[in-house]
Amino acid sequence: MHRLVFAMENCIGCRLCQLACSGRHEGRFSPLEARLAVVSRYGRQGLVVEARLCDACGRCVDACPTGALTMGDGVPLLNNDLCDRCGVCAAECPQEVISIKDDGLPRICDHCGGQPVCVAWCPHGALKLEEVSGQ
């Protein structure tokens, strides 16, 4: 099994990860339609760098009332046909990385089937796919 990990010290805040994610999955480029979020901004105390990623906690799967979301090999998987577009998964996501499309379906990070586009685009290794022992 793998999981996405974020090394803050390597992040320069370019957000290519979000642009690539939305381009791959939505066919257009929009940071808010990405399945992860990177924040890099200057607050009063200096530079703030944060990332929110799907960590496969499974809350969305547990909350899904129709069984449309199941846990695959370390990633949540969505069966569109079973989804009743209730949006509970998005509301339950502690990372707030599930958003809802215009057609009501949720945007679920599935690690792009094992080769995440965000990792491929990250220029300095801030995003990585790390192997973890299976359960």
């Binding site: 805040g13 370019c14 957000r15 690539a20 381009g23 791959r24 808010l32 200057y42």
Partner: protein
């Protein structure tokens, strides 16, 4: 054409109304975006002789076809207006992420016109435009403005704002975004101040569609890996622009004590290792894999910077060999809304006027404590700041020192000594906005490269070609720091807009865009006599280092300029000839410029 939103947002500050207009696609096809498209709209919309500080001047915020996409280094916003410092056309770019927000909000261009009856902030969230009274923000620095607005409306907003310098119409007031990114040159912030416009806050929640997203992503990822993150470009990540300090020192072109010397004894205190030692983090603009920004903390200030230009012009050129002091000067200028290049230039000029006994400003080269007081005095026009706020050209008219007034067309010099890079003299002199290093940067090939810097052989052609390249690249809103080829630009643009474009067509567009800027200036009365360099460059030999004994003989400069006009198809008076205008599809605009 895909990759455009097809919408221009026009904001009337006088009446506090806004309207959406269809993008002129014919112009977009010829001028593309950013610099070029901004020029085209400004040329069409400004009557000749428009007062840069009057309500009829416009401020055009221009994105490009790659804005908001993952094309590397495409995050820049271009701001186009008529310059209050020079009277020329002015385009000035700023990084960060605000260009993306404008595009995601649904606009290719935002045109701000008129003059608000009282200080306002324009708030744009997608198709909603609001005019918020800004009386309580007037007088504040840009940092406080950004913090207050993001506290109120959310951290997702990206903001352009001015400080007291813009409010007080200092002609070299800049626009700040994300605290440390600036549209620095030529007084874009002054125009905002004249419009009573304290800030523009933008949030966009939409997206950008291109003709072939999968192909654009393939090409862009390939470019990122094999063309951006390479040894040629990676200096921007490892060091950023402070790396240039040592290059300039070695080449003898580090402006020192108001261009009296080309080397600086304390250069090492301003060079990259010193900056890296104080570095806390790297920071990139939207879509940039290089992340040139160095966020540093010193005993005096935290700042993203100082960039090379600041280290050179506000450091060595003021005799300040102290990184903490330059960082503090930089942070103060960012917050007050002053261009660090012109601010450094006026301080250095005042120091030399004092040294030469022409006028006693009470400041001398290397006096750190007095130097650090000056940004605030200029921005608020207090004490000697009232005189320095005039800029170098007007200071010379009043106090003398025209021989060493380092400005062209009223814009103060950036950080490259042309006596050690003769093409740079031509680049400064023929740049549309005055002494500017962004129109062409031939130092890379001469002073830092392998071409003989002390000859005019081939330099007219070099400068002309670089000017076309930058004119086009900046019309795609790509950053200077990606040395992208014409062919790569053509491939990426073809995938984005859905046409099969060849490099040659883009090169012609670069020439068209550069000539349009010239037409604007000709229409405003500029001619060959304005393409001259300060007397110091052709009269005084430099004293030390690789440029010891060097000046630019006046006949050599004249010959280089003449060759340049001929190559360009311009008359001896520096006007684009009708054959050239016809070739570029600019004949009608030429007639409007009186040609």
């Amino acid at each position: 054409m895909k990759s455009y939103q097809g919408v221009v947002l026009r904001i009337d500050l006088t009446n506090q109304t806004s309207r959406r207009e269809e993008l002129n696609r014919e112009w977009a096809r010829q001028f593309w975006g950013g610099k070029g498209l901004g020029y085209r709209y400004l040329f069409a919309e400004l009557a000749p002789g428009t007062d840069p500080l009057g309500p009829d001047n416009k401020l055009i915020l221009a994105t490009g076809p790659f804005t908001g996409t993952p094309v590397p280094c495409s995050g820049k916003l271009t701001i186009v207006t008529r310059s209050p410092a020079t009277g020329t056309v002015l385009d000035c770019s700023v990084g960060g992420a605000i260009a993306g927000e404008i595009k995601y909000a649904g606009y290719d261009l935002v045109i701000l016109e008129g003059r608000a009856p009282f200080p306002v902030v324009v708030r744009i969230e997608d198709d909603r435009v609001a005019f918020e009274p800004a009386g309580d923000l007037w007088g504040l620095g840009t940092h406080a403005v950004e913090h207050q607005l993001t506290d109120k409306w959310g951290a997702e907003y990206r903001i352009l704002s001015i400080g007291p310098a813009g409010e007080n119409l200092v002609p070299f007031a800049c626009i700040t975004s994300e605290l440390y990114r600036q549209a620095g040159r030529g007084g874009v912030g002054t125009v905002m101040g004249a419009k009573n416009l304290k800030a523009v806050a933008v949030r966009g929640t939409g997206g950008v569609r291109v003709a072939d997203a999968a192909r654009l992503m393939d090409l862009a990822l390939k470019a990122l890996r094999s063309d951006v993150l390479t040894d040629t470009n990676l200096w921007a990540y490892t060091d950023g622009t402070p790396m240039i300090v040592e290059l300039s020192q070695n080449a003898g072109i580090l402006p020192t004590r108001n261009f009296q010397d080309g080397t600086f004894a304390d250069f090492a205190k301003l060079s990259s290792p010193a900056v890296q030692a104080a570095r806390m983090a790297k920071k990139a603009c939207l879509s940039c894999g290089l992340g040139c920004g160095n966020y540093i903390r010193t005993g005096r200030a935290a700042v993203e910077g100082p960039e090379y230009e600041t280290l050179a012009v506000a450091g060595a050129n003021c005799g300040i060999g102290d990184l903490e002091a330059v960082a503090a000067f930089n942070a103060a200028c960012d917050d007050l809304g002053l261009d660090t290049i012109s601010a450094g230039g006026v301080v250095a000029f005042a120091m030399e006027l004092t040294e030469k006994g022409l006028h006693d400003f009470g400041i001398t080269f290397g006096d750190v404590e007095r130097y650090l007081e000056i940004p605030d005095l200029i921005a608020r026009r207090k004490g000697i700041g009232a005189e320095l706020a005039a800029g170098v050209k007007k200071m010379a008219e009043r106090f003398g020192g025209a021989e060493f007034a380092m400005q062209i067309k009223g814009l103060e010099f950036p950080g490259y000594e042309p006596r050690g890079s003769w093409a740079m003299a031509l680049a400064y002199a023929t740049a549309p906005r005055g002494a500017c290093h962004m129109s062409a940067w031939p130092v890379a090939e001469e002073a830092y490269g392998s071409r003989d810097p002390f000859t005019i052989e081939g330099k007219a052609e070099l400068v002309r070609n670089l000017q076309h390249y930058n004119a086009f690249k900046f019309s795609l809103s790509l950053c200077d720091f990606w040395a992208v080829s014409w062919e790569t630009m053509a491939e990426l643009l073809s995938a984005a807009v859905g046409e099969d474009l060849a490099a040659e067509e883009l090169q012609l567009a670069g020439e068209r865009i550069f000539n349009l800027a010239r037409l604007f200036n000709v229409r405003e009365g500029f001619s060959a006599r304005d393409d001259n360099v300060p007397p110091r460059l052709v009269k005084d030999a430099l004293p030390s280092g690789a440029t010891a004994g060097k000046l630019i003989p006046p006949d050599r400069y004249a010959a280089m300029l003449k060759e340049y006009y001929e190559l360009r198809g311009w008359t001896d008076d520096g006007r684009p000839a009708s054959v050239k205008l016809e070739e570029l599809g600019l004949a009608e605009l030429g007639r409007k410029a009186g040609l």
